[in-house]
């Protein structure tokens, strides 16, 4: 406010906002960071440690006695503990799970039967024996390795190629785009009629639209499903089609669209329309040539709302499109993955990020219109 209030209080404001921002962004940040981490690291350490070198205890088995070679009269088995395990640095090793750290890297350990084991920091090891070694199973070596942070897009590659996410991504687009565009035109005409054309019953109709804004979607599901089944059986077409879900989203989105657009159009200056009418323009001309271009901000904000809502929707999609493998949208796919791959965080985090990336792009690119729309239509309940 005024400069004289610059005081510890100002710092408190800065700090508390910072704290709130961190609190609100951290969940999403955690998801994004996790989805980019190596899946072995993701499973054993928190994402907040992603930048730190992680140390892990592991076990490897040396090759069996068959692979020993004779060198200078001694028998040697050699290899590398970290081979195929993503590299790292070994700090200590031992022979049992309780003795991960008994010997430092580079030291030579004496095994009970006269064999000597040396493990280097880079993972290479040698078992040396004076006599020929026997036994079909190799020596188990327990070690502590420090792994540098690793980031990879492997999780995304895995998810996009295997889990059906690609198909679902397309399904979501197929649902969301027409469901966004179709209601706009219908609503714009209706909104114009409600804003600028006098007719008996206009006030009642407007009240009905406002009332319908809050009708729970759940009410519609069973009757519409029955209706769709009936129509489908009558015409011999499947009941669950894209056409059906587009129209459903259109119906559910219309109250908000009409309400938003009517409020906006009612606020346009009356003089423009009257002078056009004096010039002989019909309502249709006025609407198409004057109102529609002027209403662009309102149309844009509704479009964003409707797109976010249809893209993020789960209920309408599983009811009217079904939960079949080919017809699942992204949100439905994610719910399925939560059930079937609940512990595989590398799959879940990457899939979740793929499902939220499109709305996030829309959000950041068009936030201005979104805010404007919210302010105009804050009666609607999601």
């Amino acid at each position: 406010m005024n400069p004289s209030t610059r005081s510890p209080l100002t710092w408190a404001v800065h700090l508390s906002v910072l704290l709130l921002v961190i609190l609100w962004t951290m969940p999403t940040a955690g998801l994004l960071i996790s989805s980019l981490r190596d899946k072995d690291q993701l499973a054993v350490s928190g994402w907040w440690t992603a930048l730190a070198t992680s140390s892990r205890n592991d076990v490897a088995r040396a090759p069996s006695a068959d692979s020993q070679v004779e060198r200078d009269g001694k028998f040697v088995i050699s290899g590398n503990l970290l081979e195929g395990r993503g590299g790292g640095q070994i700090s200590a090793f031992g022979f049992s799970s309780r003795e991960h750290g008994k010997f430092k890297a580079g030291e030579t350990a004496e095994l009970n039967d006269g064999e000597r084991l040396t493990v280097q920091g880079d993972g290479s090891f040698e078992i040396v024996s004076d006599t020929k070694m026997e036994g079909s199973r190799g020596q188990r070596i327990f070690y502590t390795a420090a792994t540098p942070p690793r980031f990879t897009i492997d999780n995304y590659i895995e998810v996009l190629s295997a889990a059906g996410i690609g198909t679902s991504f397309l399904n979501s687009l197929t649902v969301a785009i027409p469901s966004t565009v179709i209601p706009i035109l219908i609503a714009a005409f209706a909104a114009y009629a409600l804003a600028w054309m006098p007719f008996p019953g206009r006030a009642i109709l407007l009240a009905v639209v406002v009332g319908l804004l809050v009708v729970p979607l759940q009410m519609s599901l069973i009757p519409l499903l029955q209706l769709y089944n009936g129509v489908g059986a009558f015409f011999g077409v499947p009941a669950k089609t894209y056409m059906g879900i587009w129209l459903a989203h259109t119906g559910f989105g219309l109250p908000l669209a009409i309400y938003l657009l009517r409020n906006y159009m009612a606020g346009l200056p009356r003089e423009i329309m009257e002078s056009a009418r004096v010039d002989g323009a019909s309502d249709f001309d006025i609407f198409v040539k004057i109102i529609l271009p002027l209403s662009f901000p309102a149309l844009a904000s509704f479009a964003i709302f409707q797109f976010l809502w249809t893209w993020n929707d789960l209920l309408v999609a599983i009811v009217f499109l079904g939960a079949g493998e080919d017809s699942l949208v992204l949100t439905g796919r994610l719910v399925n993955l939560l059930g079937s791959r609940g512990g595989n965080w590398e799959i879940l985090t990457a899939s979740a990020f793929i499902t939220i990336v499109v709305p996030l792009i829309v959000f950041f690119a068009l936030q201005r219109y979104l805010v404007r729309g919210l302010l105009a239509g804050s009666v609607k309940g999601g």
Partner: protein, 335 residues
């Protein structure tokens, strides 16, 4: 391929729509021409077209609203008095069953918990953040970041938070943030979402996280709309920051706070995705919308019971609906 078909259908649909509006208007003007006619006939025709045209503009919207919203409401009420297949009339048996059903009562209880906690906290945080961010130069960046969860689907948010609530057995390293913090302070890790009663609150956090941004945006605009003079007068009278905020600013935006509150309340009544994705109603976290979905589609489906639960949700919404309608008609009364 499929996307192409969708875009094609969309273009066809939009064109058909445009064609409808254009053609009906053209026909109307053709049947009742107002140009090139003498006075009386022209004004008679003009009157007729003016009476018909609004309905041409409204027809598709009214049609869609009737099929997709009004008819289902009526039909749901009708179905709620019928048996599972919707064939024979059973009177109030579905409602009777409901009152005696433990899971339904659990859902009602949980829904009321949600209704008490979520709108209150989301509005409260929204108000605080709106007031704080208006005072600092990077307020808009902060707002954007807090508003961002709004773009995330409930299911996406559920995954994000499930990761935070993730539980590993005691002794192994926790990868869930909440348990990691608890363990760091010497506590025992918990499987948060399986704790009856308390798990409701862990699910509510998700919705609060999403909705605070909405509350913040609306309330921030309302706070800016407060006339400067009232605040200046309070400053001159020696009011401190708290007094200005709670006694001068907040009372002036009660109307907006009420709008935010009711909007979130309606959303809460419909909450479904979060519960489905997090617990699916297990561990006593069931809510009405998810219970209804259960009765509709699982175990063969019982449309009568499903519809009666939907009617309960509808009844809970009606007071807010009436309040909204009264506000809206008051606003547009002058127009």
């Amino acid at each position: 391929m499929q996307l192409l078909a969708a875009i094609l259908t969309m273009i066809v649909g939009v064109l058909a729509c445009a064609a409808y509006f254009w053609a009906t208007n053209f026909i109307l003007d053709w049947i009742f021409p107002s140009k090139g006619l003498s006075g009386a006939a022209a004004s008679r025709n003009l009157r007729i077209t003016n009476a018909i045209r609004p309905w041409l503009f409204l027809a598709p919207a009214l049609f869609a609203l009737t099929i997709y919203l009004i008819y289902p409401v009526v039909q749901s009420v009708w179905l709620s008095f019928h048996d599972r297949g919707g064939q024979s009339f059973v009177g109030a048996r579905n409602y009777n069953w409901m009152i005696n059903d433990g899971e339904f009562r659990q859902s009602i209880f949980n829904n009321f918990l949600w209704l008490l906690v979520v709108p209150a906290l989301a509005t409260f945080f929204g108000l605080i953040i709106a007031a704080l961010t208006d005072r600092i130069w990077w307020g808009n960046i902060a707002k954007t970041l807090i508003f961002m969860p709004m773009a995330i689907s409930f299911v996406g948010a559920a995954v994000i938070w499930k990761f935070i609530y993730d539980y590993r057995a005691e002794g192994s390293e926790q990868i869930g943030l909440l348990n990691a913090i608890v363990v760091a302070f010497g506590g025992l890790p918990q499987a948060w979402i399986t704790l009856p009663f308390w798990n409701n609150f862990f699910l509510m956090v998700i919705l609060i996280w999403i909705q605070t941004g909405f509350a913040m945006v609306i309330l921030s605009a309302a706070l800016r709309g407060i006339p400067e003079e009232t605040i200046e007068a309070a400053v001159i009278d020696g009011a401190n920051g708290w007094q200005i905020f709670f006694k001068i600013m907040v009372p002036q935006i009660w109307g907006t706070i009420a709008v935010v509150w009711t909007t979130i309340t309606i959303l809460v009544l419909k909450v479904f995705d979060i519960v489905l994705a997090m617990t699916n109603g297990q561990w006593q976290s069931q809510v009405l919308a998810n219970l209804m979905f259960d009765w509709m589609f699982r175990g063969g489906g019982d449309f009568g019971r499903g519809a009666s639960i939907a009617v309960v949700i509808m009844v809970l919404v009606i007071p807010i609906m009436i309040w909204n309608i009264r506000n809206a008609t008051k606003e547009s009364g002058g127009h």
